[in-house]
């Protein structure tokens, strides 16, 4: 489940470096975040294939594949395509609200973000960091050739109360994000490892998420076949889930 959340939201905010940013140290945190956010959503309505590989200590791995349909920055549908045991399932996310559709259940079921629907280790709760929507930029600092933006959750119910986001000064590509819980403990780290060109846009193609509470547990998400696609409005309604 966590992995699905991760996929959906990371897809909704695929970073792009289609524009070259200028380093302007006078800008405040909000404007840096706003500028970075521009690059996180290269296509308003799209589909993309996602492969997620979870690594656990001892070399154990687990692979899942999905097709994600997105619209805007906060609506997405995840279609489960692999393993075969998961085929036919769909997950709808409308900002914070989530529903799962399973062929055997024949109806969308409201779920909470922590619910797991797949028996694999993953780090999907990181996906709660839909920065532009869920967080306020409080301050900006410099760390070498990166801006470091400090983000505070607008909603105290969010899994991560605080995020520190490293953004390349030149390209505004996100490089890394650290996720903290209310107690101030750093528990997750996302590293934007690879970028490539899809659908004419430079976007992230690989993200690694490390679970800092369980060393050795990490998840790598790879993106492919990003395609502009006019996803109908009604797709993103609970009652249409599994019917289109």
């Amino acid at each position: 489940m966590k992995s699905i959340i991760a996929i959906a939201l990371f897809c909704a905010m695929l970073p792009s470096t289609g524009r070259t940013g200028e380093s302007d140290l006078r800008v405040d945190a909000a404007s840096v975040l706003a500028r970075a956010d521009v690059f996180r959503n290269p296509i308003d309505s799209f589909s993309v294939d996602v492969e997620l590989t979870s690594f656990a200590p001892g070399g154990r791995t687990d692979i899942s594949r999905f097709r994600v349909f997105g619209k805007g920055s906060d609506r997405s549908i995840v279609e489960f395509t692999f393993p075969q045991t998961e085929k036919g399932k769909y997950l709808l996310m409308l900002r914070d609200a989530m529903w799962i559709y399973m062929p055997s259940a024949s109806r969308p079921i409201r779920i909470s973000p922590l619910q797991r629907l797949m028996g694999q280790a993953s780090n999907g709760d990181v996906a709660r960091t839909n920065f532009s929507i869920d967080y306020d930029a409080k301050s900006v600092a410099e760390d070498g050739d990166a801006f470091v933006v400090d983000l505070l959750a607008k909603d105290p119910a969010l899994a991560y109360n605080r995020v520190r986001l490293w953004i390349d000064k030149q390209s505004y590509e996100p490089r890394r994000a650290d996720f903290y819980v209310v107690s101030g403990k750093l528990i997750k780290r996302a590293t934007y490892r690879q970028y490539g060109t899809m659908a004419g846009q430079r976007v992230v193609t690989e993200v690694e998420i490390d679970d800092l509470l369980r060393p050795g547990n990490r998840t790598v998400m790879r993106y492919a076949n990003l395609t502009p696609k006019e996803n109908a409005e009604k797709m993103f309604t609970k009652d249409a889930l599994g019917k289109w």
Partner: protein, 357 residues
């Protein structure tokens, strides 16, 4: 209504060009041990001749076909069963054609499984849905079968309205809207004999808690789920079913069952016995723990009047990406003359394997 629709669908499929096909499903085999409960007044000395061991196989396939534009969609669910000893059957669980003449309008005709409600084990507002078994709430073998209907779905400004024309002149309607983060559905069904109305709701609080409820005439359900950081998921529900037996009616059943000594009387008592419908108030709890390639689930359902209990434990192991094996044990417990003490079997132990494609 269904057969002509299926024939029309087949003709439609031969004349149109679909660009998107989805085909998936599963096939499995399982074996059950069902030792007779000789202590039950409904099966003294195993008069019902329940077999100690049985085996069965089944396959279910889903097929969706649609053009890239999704202006129409064909949907099929096919199912076949074979039981040890020769019983075989195959059938169409669902067969529907969906047309999307406008972005805000879908019309679907055929045999459709429609499930209403937000409850996990019971759905008091499921006026057009297949009957649900609280001990198998997810229909693990996809055995549910649809009913014939014409369904019109309207998607208007965040509100979804579904109108149903059902077999035998029945009609139904459902209105759904997400109101301040809460799923709200109003539900209605009318046929020649009765009118039913209901409301269902569900809401998520924070990251881990979901609460839900349903109310219809004489039936209601309240429940919630909580997911712990350790990934343990717990579902708790309380169900009130006004159509269950009251204390007096259950006493009458007990008297008839306990005094049944000839075959006809025992058969009549068996006919009257409907487990999990012999009282009006039940509680349900489910624990689920996924761990690596294992999934452990425990379901317990208790009759709140006499405290008798059904407990089902399931352990599933995913062997490959497309193969899983499982062991399910269902036990019944309760004082003498309590509802579940009348079960004709002592327990049901099931083991099986399933291949997904």
């Amino acid at each position: 209504m269904v057969k002509p629709v299926i024939i029309a669908m087949a003709l439609f499929a031969t004349t149109v060009h679909a660009e998107t096909f989805k085909f998936f499903g599963s096939a499995g085999a399982e074996w059950q041990l069902t030792p007779a409960n000789a202590a039950s007044a409904l099966n003294p000395g195993n008069v019902a001749r329940l077999p100690y061991r049985t085996g069965s196989g089944d396959a279910v396939a889903f097929l969706d076909a649609a053009p890239e534009s999704h202006v129409w969609k064909l949907h099929l669910k096919l199912r076949g069963d074979a039981a040890e000893g020769g019983g075989q059957k195959a059938g169409i669980g669902e067969a529907s054609l969906q047309l999307n003449p406008r972005p805000w309008l879908d019309v679907t005709i055929g045999r459709i499984i429609e499930k209403w409600g937000t409850g996990y084990a019971w759905n008091p507002t499921a006026f057009v849905s297949p009957k649900k078994n609280p001990a198998d709430p997810t229909d693990r073998l996809s055995a549910n079968r649809g009913i014939g209907m014409v369904r019109t779905d309207l998607f208007v400004r965040g509100t979804n309205v579904s109108l149903y024309a059902l077999d035998h002149g029945a009609v139904a309607a459902r209105v759904y809207r997400l109101v301040g983060g809460t799923d709200i559905s109003l539900l209605f069904r009318r046929d020649g004999t009765a009118t039913q109305q209901g409301i269902s709701a569900a809401r998520v609080f924070g990251d881990a808690l979901e609460l839900h409820g349903e109310v219809a005439r004489r039936r209601a359900l309240a429940g919630g789920q909580y997911t712990f950081k350790s990934n343990v998921n717990v579902v708790v529900e309380l169900y009130r079913g006004g159509d269950g037996l009251d204390a007096g009616a259950f006493r009458a059943f007990r008297t008839a069952a306990d005094s049944a000594h000839d075959e006809a009387a025992i058969r009549a008592a068996n006919t009257a016995y409907a487990p999990l419908h012999m009282a009006r108030n039940y509680a349900f709890v489910r624990f689920d723990l996924p761990h690596d390639k294992f999934d452990a689930e425990l379901i317990a359902i208790t009759n709140l009047r006499d405290g008798s209990l059904l407990a089902r434990a399931t352990l599933t192991r995913r062997l490959l990406a497309n193969v899983s094996v499982y062991l399910i044990d269902t036990e019944f417990a309760g004082a003498r003359a309590s509802e579940l003490s009348y079960m004709q079997v002592r327990r049901v132990t099931t083991t099986g394997a399933r291949y997904y494609f």
